[in-house]
Point group: C2
Chain length 297, copies 2
């Protein structure tokens, strides 16, 4: 055992279900900081063993129940449409006092599904660390991925406050700054800051004629970088958060329409105002993603 | 004099009109490689002197005619709606054999305006080095900015081939890979690879609710980075290339509409296909912007 009751994570054994970029980075951070013993859970024995040899987990488990029965904290880093079912299965064999959380980009459906029906003494509270990449696989993991990043946690009104505090301390221990939001507020915000940007970038990438590719410079590449993400993961995210995504897309299309109208009518003054407003909003983002004075703690 | 007739640029004295990020980087490259003596032209004497002290130009000239009368090559790095007028003024005092070019992001209107009416022996050929940044000012210039980047040149059918060759060699001497296109083909391609991406990014940035800013992570920041560009410069670019921009925006809006429909009807299979196509197009871009085998020389 590499941690003690005094360690900030307050979890002796952490099971990570899904050891890819997100799960692998978390495992690496926990191990490097000696915060917990890490059991990695996955379906592919070869990949799990490679992750163990790479040092991102202490132990590989192919059976989620085997790991769940021994863990104090279980973090589901699987696609958003699989998390609730995986969590139910794990909860069925977990010890009393075990905390379950996840790293999914959508929170409402997952938190709703797990709001009730778990065994007594087993708590699920949603998490969403705002860290990641269009890349996949533990090979791209980074034990410092969570340093200085925001992690949203989404307790429900009935979530035990002691468990909320433990979860907050867990993410803080790997370097994150924790923001508490309701699942609905999280999903509405992320539609705007992540899910619609993904659609916008993907639509732009899909619009590129192949013979124009040599003329795509760094601006095009930056604007479409996130379109390199895994299609299956993003289908799940966009459909799990469809309502909020559609509302945000509508808003985006309206703003885009204003730009189109200004260009169409050669209205330089309107166009300048639209561009200036865009620049101001963009510049209000500090490099870390935190505008000054907006840190919610 | 720091160059000779044998130097690859084949220009002894180069005047750069507009010593910002683009002009300053060019001046720095020419000076570092000892390709030419560089006269910087600008309206602000203090800024020009600072640029001289920073080593990006050899000499500062506030009067475009003074510089033009002594230059073998004049490069206009001013906003696209000012280039044609500046070039006419310079041409009126240039020596026979002087070549004029620019660095503007739109080529049709400029090349049309300068296709005829210049004094005998003075040639204008458009250039567009695909290098830049949302930043401004010579302080952000970089003498290696053009290394490995594409530079499009847009000669007209009647452009003297010897002058085309000199211009090509000039850009190659600062490290660029030169692509020759007609002004119309350039503008149509750049609408798609640069101008519409700017609108798309700006509209996305403008859609961000300020209270969601803490939840904007690296994906949002990358997708909107170019929205930090100068509004006045972009009004000029978008309006000078309005027809091609509107055509490309229309195409983009159609693709975006397909994504919206797929989310709206919860059509996972269509959404997956759209996302997969987007990812494939994105991944076909090599880091330098060159897909393998697509280099047009």
């Amino acid at each position: 055992m590499t941690s003690s009751a005094a360690a900030p994570s307050r979890f002796e054994t952490v099971a990570i279900v899904g050891v890819g970029l997100i799960g692998g980075s978390l495992g690496g951070a926990l191990r490097r900081k000696k915060l917990a013993r890490v059991i990695g859970v996955g379906r592919n024995a070869g990949r799990l063993e490679a992750a163990r040899q790479a040092g991102v987990i202490d132990e590989a488990a192919r059976d989620i129940r085997d790991a769940a029965a021994r863990a104090d904290l279980i973090v589901f880093c699987t696609p958003v449409d699989r998390i609730a079912a995986d969590a139910r299965e794990a909860a069925s064999v977990s010890r009393k006092g075990t905390l379950l959380t996840d790293a999914g980009s959508v929170k409402g459906p997952i938190c709703d599904a797990l709001a009730s029906g778990l065994p007594d003494g087993i708590t699920f509270i949603g998490s969403h660390p705002l860290a990641g990449s269009e890349k996949q696989g533990f090979e791209h993991s980074n034990p410092q991925l969570y340093e200085g990043r925001v992690c949203v946690i989404t307790p429900l009104p009935h979530s035990p406050r002691g468990e909320v505090a433990r979860l907050r301390h867990f993410w803080e221990a790997v370097g994150s700054r924790v923001i508490e939001l309701s699942p609905v507020d999280h999903d509405r915000a992320l539609a705007q800051t992540s899910h619609v940007p993904h659609v916008v970038a993907a639509a732009l990438a899909a619009t590129l004629d192949r013979d124009c590719a040599p003329l795509a410079a760094s601006g095009f590449r930056d604007t479409t970088r996130i379109a390199g993400g895994d299609p299956d993961l993003w289908v799940a995210i966009l459909l799990e958060n469809a309502e909020a995504v559609l509302a945000s897309l509508k808003k985006y299309e309206n703003v885009l329409g204003a730009f189109t109208s200004a260009v169409g009518s050669r209205d330089a003054e309107s166009l300048r105002q639209l561009l200036a407003e865009a620049r101001d909003r963009r510049e209000s983002l500090r490099p870390s993603g935190f505008p000054a004075g907006h840190i919610v703690q």
